[in-house]
């Protein structure tokens, strides 16, 4: 796996050590607000963007932490938070 992921605790590590936790869909919404269809969409539907997406990873073979990173899905490389500064690849 050519992907590397920067764990906030353990640093940049081989992608093999992590488990993918899906796209970031933001905090669980209030359930009362939902129709079953909307809830189903929240749980199962993905944006699958071609470009930079925020997504969750678990350092399963390391510290066990869950954290979010940004990844360019077209190059499969981790990138820095596009909201903070451009979108330069992390060192």
């Amino acid at each position: 796996m050519s992907l590397t992921i920067t764990c906030p605790i353990c640093g940049k590590r081989n992608g093999y050590e992590f488990r993918y936790g899906g796209e970031d869909k933001e905090k669980r919404p209030e359930e009362d607000m939902f129709t079953s269809r909307a809830w189903c969409s929240y749980v199962h539907m993905n944006k699958s963007v071609a470009g930079t997406q925020k997504e969750w990873w678990c350092h399963k073979d390391g510290c066990g932490a869950w954290f979010a990173i940004y990844r360019d899905t077209t190059t499969n490389l981790e990138v820095s938070d596009p909201n903070e500064d451009g979108s330069k690849a992390k060192a």
Partner: protein, 972 residues
Amino acid sequence: MNRLRHLPTLRIRPEDEISIHFRGKIYKGVAGDTIATLLFANGIRIFSRSLKYHRPRGLYSLEGECSNTFMQVDGIPNVCTEKTLARSGMIVKAQNVVGSPEYDLMGFMDKLSWTMPAGFYYWLFHKPAAIWPLAIKQIRKAAGIGNLSPSFEMKGRYDENYLNADVCIIGGGPAGMCAALAASEHDLRVILLESRPWLGGFFDYRSADYTEDLALYERARALANQVEQTSSVRVFKHTSMIGAYNNNLITAFQQGTENDNFTERYIEIRAESVVVATGCIERPLLFENNEKPGVMQVACAHRLARTHGLMVGMAAVFSIGHDLGLEAAIDLHDLGLNVLCVADVRENGQESKLIAKLQERKIPILKGWVAEKAHGGKCLNGVTLTKIAETQKQKFNCDTLVASAGLTPLTGPLALAGATLAYDDHTGFFLPDKLPNKIYTAGRMLGLSDAFAIETSGELAGLRAAADCGTSLKHEIDAAEKELHALPGPVKGSQFVTATRGGKKTFVCFDEDTTLKHINQALELGFDGPELIKRFTSGGTGPGQGGIPGHNLPLYVRQLQDADNKTVKPTNVRPPLASTFLATYAGGGHVMSKHTPVHSSQVKAGGKMERIGVWYRARRFSEDKSAREEIVNVRNNVGLLDASSLGKFRIHGPDALNALQRVYVGDMSKMAPGKVKYTAMCNEDGCIIDDGVVIQDGKNDYYFTTSTNRAGKTVEWIRYHTRYDGWDFHLINLTDAFGVINLAGPNARKVLQKITDADISNDVFPFTGCQELMIESTIPVRAMRLGFVGELSYELHVSSSFMQAVWDLLKENGEEFGIMNFGLEAQNCLRMEKGHLIIGSESEQRTTLHDVGLGHLWFQQKPEAKTVGAFALKETETQKGRLKLVGIKMDDSSRTPKEGSIIVDEKIRGYVCTARYSNSVAESIGMALVEDHLSIPGTHLKIFEDNLGDQRLSATVVTMPFYDPEGKRMKI
């Protein structure tokens, strides 16, 4: 054959004899020989027959660029014998021959080559349709090379290495070594990959001058010594780079030597920067019969002599296009080869010193001449040379033709890394027009020929790669650039010539028998780009991966189309760049498993051990597959089961309760002291994924268990579902820290009481109770009264280090009460009789909490915690058409259905989850998931099984539990 035994460049150990088996005979060679050179030393000239035409093929390049020397070795087909070191005892067989390589009964195919034009399979292989059933068999037999026996088992040890490096250098020639040394001087970790078993590249076998008093091979060995003594450079020899991926991930495989503890090893290197210094191979010269045994490339002939001590033949003609050819002719002449003539494609531009040396030795040199046709039957016996673009010809009788059109860079690694290649007019090479990020090139592949320039370019690339790792090296890089600039630059490449028109037997691709004629045919049909022509003629699709045709195919197309140089691109290469065993990719096949703390005593007691998830557990303790004796003993006396694989966790901290509320469907805030709470976890779809018990040890401090299967995932699961909340809790996986013994049966209390002073009477320690006990006043255990198997039972959670002691005490003290081990089979039947479910057995991905009848576990008033799955449970609770878990009783008690059998009427209505003949109730019973309208007790079900024809097994839905419906026995 007499070896040239005293050359200083040799890489063999003549005193060390080895022998291999070939054609029923023993062939002797020396250590350091490859299989192909060993056979060559024994006079073997024909190694295989070609794919389509069954033409004899011999030693051509020594670099593994074509399948000429592919043979079967120890049952493994398609071993590249020119790159594989021979080992004593190897059994070698020729491939793609009916008979022997010399007398191949399929040899007539060569005469039929006119029936096989380019893409003939597209033309021919469709009609008449009627002959296909027969034709397929014959074509299958003829197609492909090498046979693999279906019963073949790959032997050997296959290792894996995952490495990190600052700089990875591909190619251990002079440029690569200089790059490694330059990078290593700046405190960096360097990895150097070299495909040959030694470092040195194209310096290694040459005796020409590096300086006035140092030969090239001496320089190479000095450099190699220096590199190998540099501790920050890790050298992998006999290692072929096979892939490059983004983030500078380089993959390679290494062939083990006799001293290594692996046969082949997969290597994956994550490097900050990469230097590609793979050098050049030779561009095959295109002429009629250019692959006849006896025709070989310059470096092949030169290395056979200098590296292996083998003279190529008696009399040789050279037809070359590079100074290395002149150098080889002179050197081989001095070693005793009768060089009849040297034809050089180039009219001028030769190194004058080399011309003088040829003249000194009275070797005629023909400038602007080239081989037109090789003569001979199976092997070469002559060659016709021709002056380019003129009609003059000369014929020579010879047994060797050393032929090479010039050089071509090994750009495979660059192409894989994403570089685009463009034709360079000066060198005649396809070179990268833009290099990918943090990748550098060095050495001969840039067209450099001067030894100092090659080394300096290596140093420069090494410095640049080092600078990418965070060191500022501007000054050093400038100096190296300046130095390189002052040295001779890339040399002009030789022109592309094809002496003959037609080219019926002028092979562009040896692997696929693709000739110039085929390419002409493809062009005439309108296939206009090299990539399309490659597909249609299959040239370059063989195991050599375009090694031989990679350069000639696009150059020839370009010449015929008279196209602009820049538009012609070489064909794509793909990983793996070199043939690798699948076994190497598969790796060591490590069996990662766990043993419980009492594993050995389970085995000793005759336990039939089975892999359950990561654990080994005892299925049963006798030959009887139904484990009846164990079951009866638990029902009547007492049994003990090693349940250590159960997931065990502690969660504590201010938000521990919140976290439990989130993942468990029950209300975790209401826990009675000294009691366990049985509850379940669902996923977001409301489907049940786990069940277990929870105990409160203190405020926001809990101990809980999960099924064996979920033990490894639970921490991740809980943290995932609380990831947005920022809750403060600690979650500790105690699965391996504690073992579990399930002591079950009517005599369980009597046994336990013998080893503890605690009051464990039913009043003090009732069903669903939980207590800390001291065993023999020394060992603390956590005891719970649970009833999975439906009898009085104690689940003892014991620190792993005390497990064996407690186990042995129970066995010893239980003897008078008839204590016996029981295994998973007995447990499975016992719990089924009670209608207790196992997640994954009585549930699948779609099965909700309500479907298995555990809806009562769901506590709906937890809005704060937002229980995982709760929203979906609201929907599915009343949903129609779901599969529901029911108990079934077979109408014929002697006939138990197989697990997984489907329940049918005119459609599939469900399936049997678990079914056994129950000794306790003397019926064949089971549990099944059936459509809700069939779940009412009394419903008759039909069960389909294979081989029953129209017959169906019949069963009736009944209420559960089957055994002790009031549950009195577990509460005594």
